[in-house]
Amino acid sequence: MPASIVPDYNLEIYGEPCPYPAVATLEAMQSLKAGEVLEVITDCSQSINNIPNDAKNYGYEVLEVSQQGVMLRFLLKK
């Protein structure tokens, strides 16, 4: 993981089914200022197809997608 990225906020979503992780992420991104970074950690496997895709569609930058066992981590920049 690039050490230079320091997220401004984080969102942990565990045990939640779709669409809640993706919706919560997009709502959180709305409250960020331009240039700020959000870290999303979730154990919802389906998010791998949702969160990065949605982030790009909404014009955010996907800095990182990583998988550690059941845990997924996304770093998104507004």
């Binding site: 984080n10 959000l38 870290e39 950690i41 998988q67 059941v70």
Partner: protein, 424 residues
């Protein structure tokens, strides 16, 4: 070299786009080799029937089970061994990637959602004689009109379902916190290794069982082998038909929906060639049952968070939520089977079984199917454009409003200063 390969194929998730197209091709072969559709809900309904038999009921005398059949055990039926294969394939995939963890629902609300959504979906699917598979993904390639009716009704249902799931009452309680880069505990390497091996053991056992079954019935053995591959595909690529519909409405994401249309497009020509060689496509009543069933199904899968195919792999990953969805599905399907006699004639059996290949002739039917698939694809593109245009204008409105507020604040500021001064 092996490590990269292992990481790419067994640990990291696959691209759903490729996987859905692969599933489309495979489902055509499945039809050619077994004579049946790749489908799951019919068999789940039979499992509900078996449970009732254990309690002494006689569901085999019900009209619905006479239509779909309730003979022998799952091991004697194409659908039965295919589903066992699917569960095995999912399990192997889950173990390979160490994607197994008991994930408890975040609240009781979610359990209610899973159970009730699952029941509505199970009931609706069986009323329409199929779920996202037999009445949509593998139904449309059979040229049966009822699948088209079901697909559009289900799309409408998921729109309603999306409105319900996004009501404040159901929202996630996850909150935004300052800071980040939490350390995610590394999984125990021994556990990872053991599970990877166990995954291979499950895989090998399932293949061995298929080969064993193949000794007595080629068809059943092949169905099970293909079930294993379907299972691998849906888990490794997290294929989700529910999200294909729902997320168009919620977040404007159309990736999965487009993949599914392409998957059906490759499947259509395969089924067409089998039909030209003399096989009979599976056609069902194009009646109000497809409309009502599709609507209910669409609402149910979104409330539950997954359909009949979706809960299978999520349940094996340890997502407890989807155990409830599965139970709900089987209960809902069984309730429909019980009440079938009441609704059958007016809603289904009095209506014609319409196949597009008969209606428009073989080439005409093929052309109409591709035309409809193309039209659906265009509709998706138009929706996507509309969705993001609307988003943009809403964003601009918000910015304008904020600017207005600032101006108002500035105007109000001197007065505020004055008041605070007098107070002081």
């Amino acid at each position: 070299m092996w490590l990269t390969f292992k990481n790419q194929f067994f640990i990291k998730f696959w691209s759903p786009f490729t996987a859905v197209i692969a599933a489309g091709i495979l489902s055509s072969y499945f039809f050619g080799l077994t004579g049946s559709l790749w489908a799951v809900t019919g068999e789940f309904t039979r499992w509900g029937g078996h449970v009732l038999q254990w309690f002494g009921a006689e569901p085999e005398t019900w009209e619905y089970f006479k239509i779909i059949g309730l003979n022998g055990t799952p091991l004697d039926r194409v659908g039965g061994v295919m589903i066992i294969g699917m569960f095995g394939g999912c399990m192997a995939a889950v173990l390979w990637a160490n994607n197994l963890k008991l994930r408890m629902p975040s609240s009781k609300k979610r359990i209610a959602q899973a159970l009730i959504g699952g029941m509505i979906a199970g009931f609706g699917a069986r009323l329409a004689m199929g779920c996202n598979l037999a009445a949509f993904f593998t139904g449309i390639p059979q040229f049966t009109l009822h699948a088209w009716i079901f697909a559009f009704a289900a799309a409408a249902g998921t729109y309603i379902g999306a409105k319900i799931t996004l009501m404040p009452f159901f929202r996630s309680s996850a909150t935004l916190k300052v800071g980040g880069l939490k350390k995610i505990p590394k999984p125990n390497p021994n556990q990872v290794q053991n599970r990877f091996r166990l995954g291979w053991l499950v895989f090998a056992a399932m293949v061995a069982l298929s080969l064993y079954i193949m000794q007595s019935s080629t068809k059943l053995g092949i169905a099970m082998l293909m079930g294993i591959i379907f299972g691998l595909l849906i888990e490794r690529a997290q294929i989700c038909f529910t999200s294909a519909f729902r997320d168009m409405w919620i977040t404007g994401r159309t990736h999965m929906a487009k993949a599914i249309i392409l998957g059906m497009a490759v499947s259509v020509i395969g089924i067409y060639s089998y039909v030209q060689l003399g096989m009979t496509p599976k056609t069902l009543w194009a009646g109000p049952n497809a409309v009502i069933g599709g609507l209910l199904f669409g609402i149910g899968i979104v409330i539950a968070g997954g359909c009949e195919t979706g809960w299978m792999y999520r349940a094996l990953e340890g997502q407890v939520h989807f155990w409830w969805v599965g139970i709900g599905n089987i209960v809902g399907a069984t309730i429909l089977a019980y009440y079938w006699d009441v609704v059958a004639e007016p809603l289904a059996t009095n209506w014609d079984k319409v196949n597009l290949l008969d209606l428009f002739g073989p080439l005409g039917g093929l052309g109409v199917t591709y035309l409809l698939l193309g039209l659906s694809f265009v509709l998706i593109l138009v929706w996507e454009l509309h969705f993001f245009n609307k988003q943009k204008s809403q964003q601009q409105e918000l910015v304008a409003k904020l600017a207005e507020l600032k101006v108002a604040e500035l105007k109000a500021a001197p007065a505020a200063i004055a008041t605070s001064a007098t107070q002081a």
